[in-house]
Subunit: 117 residues, 2 copies
Amino acid sequence: MTLTLANANVGFVIDVAFHALAEPRRREILRVLSDRELAAGEIAARFDVTRPAISQHLGVLREAGLVEERRDGTRRRYRVRTAGLEPVRAWLDGFWDERLDALKAAAEAEAGGDDLG
Amino acid sequence: MTLTLANANVGFVIDVAFHALAEPRRREILRVLSDRELAAGEIAARFDVTRPAISQHLGVLREAGLVEERRDGTRRRYRVRTAGLEPVRAWLDGFWDERLDALKAAAEAEAGGDDLG
DNA sequence: GGCTAACGTAAGCGTCAACTAACCATCCGG
DNA sequence: CCGGATGGTTAGTTGACGCTTACGTTAGCC
């Protein structure tokens, strides 16, 4: 309601994704999981922080749809969910397109609109 | 020094960029600036928060290399700096490539390595 | 059933970030 | 020079976040 943009539904997903990616540790977790599936303890073993900290990070990544959880006995294997990165890429692409369109329109307007052919 | 990764120099730039983009208000500022150049007051007039808040956001965006400042009398016109978004895109692309390479290698290894030709 | 391993969760704590209010700096017209 | 306009800066507050310690939960094994 604050702005005129329709950021009621779409903006939330993008916000969660960017928020999750803003933390360097979470990006490193994604990098570690990029090529293989690992259990929570195996992930935590690669960092200096305690295991609960990693668990909380995994929870944030899971809420953002960036990782997927698969239960295997007492283990919980985590794997990257590629679809979760699409909102971010879509935001970047949309930004680019919007900008290019505006620049092209501005160039045409400045030239008088007779340089199309 | 915390990890074995060489995130001393490159990681900092990416961190600053992601941190700047993590704030929804700053992403909206970039959207507003995507098609036109605006002064600080004109930007602030489009939001509910006070001008100092916008000024601080603009400072963060400037430090992250996402916007450019151009002085014009007492006015300060701000414009999007496209190059600032490249580290983010590079991170996403690098993540994709790394992941695809690992998956391809895993598939070849699982097949026995004789399915190359 | 008891024991251990693997994990998530809750409470508490220190730190950082976003916001507001008040202040300071710069530029321009009279 | 003076007054208003534009806008960055500082001090202080509030809320969120990441981390640790302690505890609860589930699965497998004897």
